[in-house]
């Protein structure tokens, strides 16, 4: 099966047409006669011919390579995203090139531009928080580089976005905790300059306010999204004179930290304290007690993103791009939350 490599010239000769016509068949050009097309396709099939990406790229300045740009320490999230993208793009004949970066670095724009140019990527997918940097998006626009941004929140300009409605999910969490009769509810937010953190924060506290349960200042703390931050802020909250009975964390990492702090202080979860997170990463189901959290359909988002990006690349008219891609995370109730006993 794995013969010597066979080129467009071979196919042309074997099917008795010019290579240009074969090229047209490959690219599904409409201006090819029906029977010619069938004849060529048959030969292509028969010899298992696949066009050479490099040659194609050189001639048409395409590479059939997509880039994934991220600055996110959450390996579980990254892995899920990669698998989602690959599941879609590999069947479309694209491959995925990965590119971790430092989203805060001053040369982020140049760095990403370089990345795209060096491998002539056809387009890139941006993950938070890099996806939140509008300046980067502008630069990509200026250079006519197709891209899709995965973000939390929503935007009118849906063309370039795949969105997750974290705000709504955080509101669900607020209602859930209240339904468990908690009176003293606290939240450890992520860095509020991150869009996702802000969405979750606002969704949560606004809902609380609407139920006349506005969070007092000492119950509202900004963390860094890291485990260590969860421990630190957890310790702080749990040693307050009037400690909360429920803590909602911006992500599972910090929620794990809070569990750690609670364990140190011999506070029982969920009997004396309810803890919940956001993401539903692997940790959430493994840790003891298993975390009540919010599951983001990350893989689904990644599939949408790949779909959208390829649509953008392959169509010259932007209308062809699939429409609004918004995804709804949902509450997953496990063992770290319970009725308030007081």
């Amino acid at each position: 099966m794995a013969n010597e490599k066979i080129t467009i010239n071979d196919i042309a000769r074997l099917s008795g047409v010019s290579k240009r016509t074969v090229s047209r068949v490959i690219n599904q050009s409409p201006k090819v006669g029906e029977q010619t097309k069938l004849k060529v396709e048959k030969i292509i099939e028969q010899y298992n011919y696949v066009p050479d990406k490099q040659a194609r790229g050189l001639a048409s300045s395409r590479s059939y390579l997509l880039g994934l740009v991220y600055d996110n320490p959450d390996a579980l999230y990254i892995d899920e995203v990669q698998r989602g993208i690959l599941s879609f793009c590999s069947k479309k004949g694209y491959e995925l090139v990965v590119h971790p970066c430092r989203y805060k670095s001053t040369d982020l724009n140049d760095n990403v531009l370089d990345f795209v140019r060096r491998s002539k990527l056809d387009g890139i997918i941006l993950l938070p928080p890099a996806s939140e940097v509008d300046d980067l998006a502008s630069t990509l626009d200026e250079n006519a580089i197709p891209y899709v941004r995965m973000v939390s929140g929503y935007s009118e300009k849906t063309d370039d976005f795949v969105m997750s409605n974290d705000r709504h999910a955080a509101a669900d969490m607020a209602r859930f905790l209240v339904s468990l009769k908690h009176q003293k509810i606290s939240m450890i937010t992520g860095p509020l300059n991150y869009r996702s953190s802000k969405e979750r924060y606002e969704g949560f506290i606004h809902t609380m306010e609407n139920m006349d349960r506005a969070l007092p200042d000492q119950y509202l703390i900004e963390g860094t999204n890291l485990y260590e931050s969860g421990i630190e802020k957890g310790r702080h909250l749990l040693t307050l004179d009037d400690r909360p009975t429920a803590i909602f964390c911006n992500n599972d990492e910090m929620a794990s930290g809070v569990l750690k702090a609670a364990a140190e202080l011999h506070i029982k979860v969920p009997e004396q304290l309810s803890v919940c997170g956001f993401d539903d990463n692997l940790l959430a189901s493994r840790i003891i007690p298993a975390l009540t959290t919010i599951k983001r359909p990350v893989r689904q988002m990644a599939v949408y993103a790949a779909n959208k990006l390829i649509a953008k690349i392959e169509s010259n008219n932007p209308q062809a791009v699939i429409q609004n891609c918004t995804v709804h995370p949902e509450l997953v109730i496990r063992d770290s939350t319970g009725f308030n006993e007081n």
Copy 2:
């Protein structure tokens, strides 16, 4: 800075030599006059010229793309490997294309071959368990595709391997548990057809035997490396009439499962039971109690692998390849193990 793209022809014209000579400079050919070389390099520098990978690839059948082939559900491991490889290969001008696969599928060989051909990859890195399939390695050899295999264990044919001495590390664990005065020690192995599982298994039980502490049959169980398997086998072991006081698991995933089972059965860790794993993935430090485990220097292995692969690709003589790459995992003692109290 980001001018119109500048090609080898521009450089040739600007520096007053032929493009062939510029090509020689780029490729560090020795047959270029010293001052010519300097002159051209200066122009290249000045105009920030980078050769086009596709054109280069088309002409020389190289792509400057490396592939990463894996069938491993451990996202943390994969992420670490990716970052390790990238840290080395990006500065050498290579990019990384990722390719999850099903290592058991009957068309693994064809699948991987296809992957390599479609994108004309210069070489690939294989991760366990795919790296353990000798048949795949043979196929790659036959097709003259450069590759490096990351494996647990050792091999005489060090050329193609980056190895981790898991056997030795497992022996350390055996000695550690014995030093804690445990008498009834159990092991949940991974699937013994995996090389890594076998190495850890043998390192552990042989060391136990050498200390006259051979494991009785009922304390030796084969698991699947998955969390659920840890729960199931854990339950089984902990409900034996004469249950063990220490359980060594082939990986952290299963160790987490055992902790879960222990929690269900109200067995206190580490007071009544010591549990330990292998890998030191994120979970290990986050779970409560934090796991005693063995840390594999995964990133280091990945860097070695990239280094070795690129050396193979770039040199025609195999001697240039860096020598023996063996890495030594080490014991990390945390809170899930303690002195046997009986």
